[in-house]
């Protein structure tokens, strides 16, 4: 899968409280640990085509724990 030139995301582990909204909206980009807290998959690079899902997850996180940067 080719990588988007644009987006990289990161879940701030100090802010994440395990609401799991990101995993529900964008399971391709997030995984949950045994406590249900979220982590970005791999290095957080957003594959092409999944940019909208990345933003959707970011704008639904109740703890503002998802950071998206443009590379």
């Amino acid at each position: 899968m080719s990588k988007s030139p644009g987006l990289k995301l990161r879940v701030d582990p100090d802010k994440c409280q395990g609401h799991a909204r990101c995993k529900s909206l964008a399971p391709e980009l997030f995984e949950l640990d045994e406590y249900g807290n979220a982590h970005e998959i791999g290095d957080g690079s957003v594959p092409a085509g999944l940019e909208d899902k990345a933003w959707l997850a970011q704008t639904n996180c109740p703890e503002f724990a998802i950071e998206i940067t443009e590379e």
Partner: protein, 406 residues
């Protein structure tokens, strides 16, 4: 102490919501939304002398600040009541503050992950269909009494490993603790004692014969020093799971069905576009959040420019935060395809509801199964919808007619 001394008098009707709010007033119970709008327009934090002094943040921002601030606000009391007796029955982690909170919460998190909920889902689907089988032929039902009430209690009983047939007893205790207990301490204490004795019996049984349910999981847990939890801790957490897991989700499912009964367009859309369900569930959670929490002020501080003094409680209304138009455009409109929705129905910060994934799964399954079996339904004009009083809001009578109006 006599019964009379421990049961406070009826609350006088509110004439000035901004200076003298009361979340047990019948008008609040019936329709709190315009009251919250009035309070929010007046100030980001309001105060009442009732309940021995209590603040209420009215904006999303003020609710969030308090939820994150465990230094000035303690969770040791999580219900705003007329009295503040000594704290005798903690229910960790909901009543815990840092640093005790994190280890108590981490014990409960693994059994409630979305993955764990997938395993429970088939049982919940079966529960929903067993319930629908009992009333569908009647062409009508009180959906609160016959459907929504029974789903969470049976699901949590199944998880804990206690008999689903004891459900009526659990529902009675919860009513006594969360509704009657606001004013009547004796009833509350009796319910807590009965519940504790009930679970103590189950603990004893499992000491002789271990099981693979959630009660045994808690009994087998070890703290960071490798020691098992004290029975009192296990009992407190079990009380929490039962109290917090039942009328909350009962309320959320009930409010959702109430909305769908009145809104055929949303109903039809969910049937036509089932993939919209997860987004719709979040919007129903936002618009009809059932749970209001509480904090106790420990140290003087300022929230959204308002001075906050110790000795007061805080009514931490996540439902009011979720109706703040500064955070949610058209906050009073239910839009089941709302794209951006950082709602706080399950709280914010370290006390995020441990059962949120369970609640979402139960809501989703309960609505899906209802829509499959009863795609057309409406409120019964001959009946009356009634709402619970206190800090968990949802329909307690929900009379419905099935089929299209003739």
């Amino acid at each position: 102490m006599s019964d009379a001394a421990r049961t406070t008098p009826e609350h006088p009707p509110v004439t000035d919501w901004v200076q003298d709010f009361d979340h047990t007033d019948p008008r609040w119970t019936e329709n709190p939304f315009p009251i919250w709008d009035e309070l929010r327009a007046a100030s980001p934090v309001v105060h009442t002398e009732r309940f021995l002094g209590c603040y209420m943040p009215t904006t999303y921002e003020a609710v969030k600040q308090i939820a994150y601030d465990t230094e000035h606000f303690s969770s040791r009391r999580v219900i705003v009541r007329d009295i503040r007796p000594e704290i005798t029955n903690p229910a960790p982690p909901i009543t815990s503050d840092p640093p005790a909170h994190k280890p108590a919460k981490q014990l409960l998190l693994p059994p409630f992950t979305p993955e764990a909920m997938k395993k429970l889902e088939p049982r919940v689907r079966a529960i929903c269909n067993e319930l629908i089988d009992e009333f569908i032929a009647d062409g009508k039902c009180d959906a609160a009494a016959r459907y929504t009430k029974h789903i969470p209690v049976r699901a949590i009983a199944h998880m804990l490993g206690i008999p689903e047939k004891d459900s009526d007893r659990f529902i009675k205790w919860i009513h006594e603790i969360l509704e009657l207990g606001i004013r009547d301490d004796d009833t509350l204490m009796r319910a807590v004692q009965e519940m504790t004795a009930y679970f103590a019996g189950h603990l004893e049984q499992r000491k002789k014969r271990p099981t693979d349910d959630l009660i045994s999981t808690l009994m087998n847990a070890r703290d960071k020093n490798g020691q098992p939890l004290a029975d009192a801790h296990v009992l407190g957490s079990l009380r929490l799971l039962l109290i917090a897991g039942i009328d909350t989700t009962w309320s959320a499912i009930g409010s959702s069905l109430w909305h769908l009964a009145k809104t055929p367009a949303d109903r039809d859309r969910l049937i036509a576009e089932p993939e919209l369900m997860p987004i719709a569930i979040e919007e129903l959670l936002r618009a009809y959040s059932p749970v209001t929490m509480a904090r106790e002020v420990m140290k003087e501080t300022v929230i959204s420019g308002c001075p906050i003094k110790p000795g007061n409680m805080v009514l931490l209304s996540f439902p009011a935060a979720n109706r703040d138009p500064a955070m949610f455009p058209d906050a009073d409109k239910v839009m089941i395809d709302r794209k951006e929705n950082r709602h706080a129905a399950f709280g914010l910060g370290i006390h995020r509801c441990v059962g949120s994934n369970l609640a979402r799964m139960e809501m989703t399954v309960a609505i899906e199964e209802w829509l499959k079996r009863i795609p057309d339904f409406r409120l019964d004009p001959a009946g009356q919808v009634t709402w619970s009083e206190g800090t968990v809001r949802g329909p307690r009578q929900l009379p419905m007619l099935f089929g299209k109006p003739s």
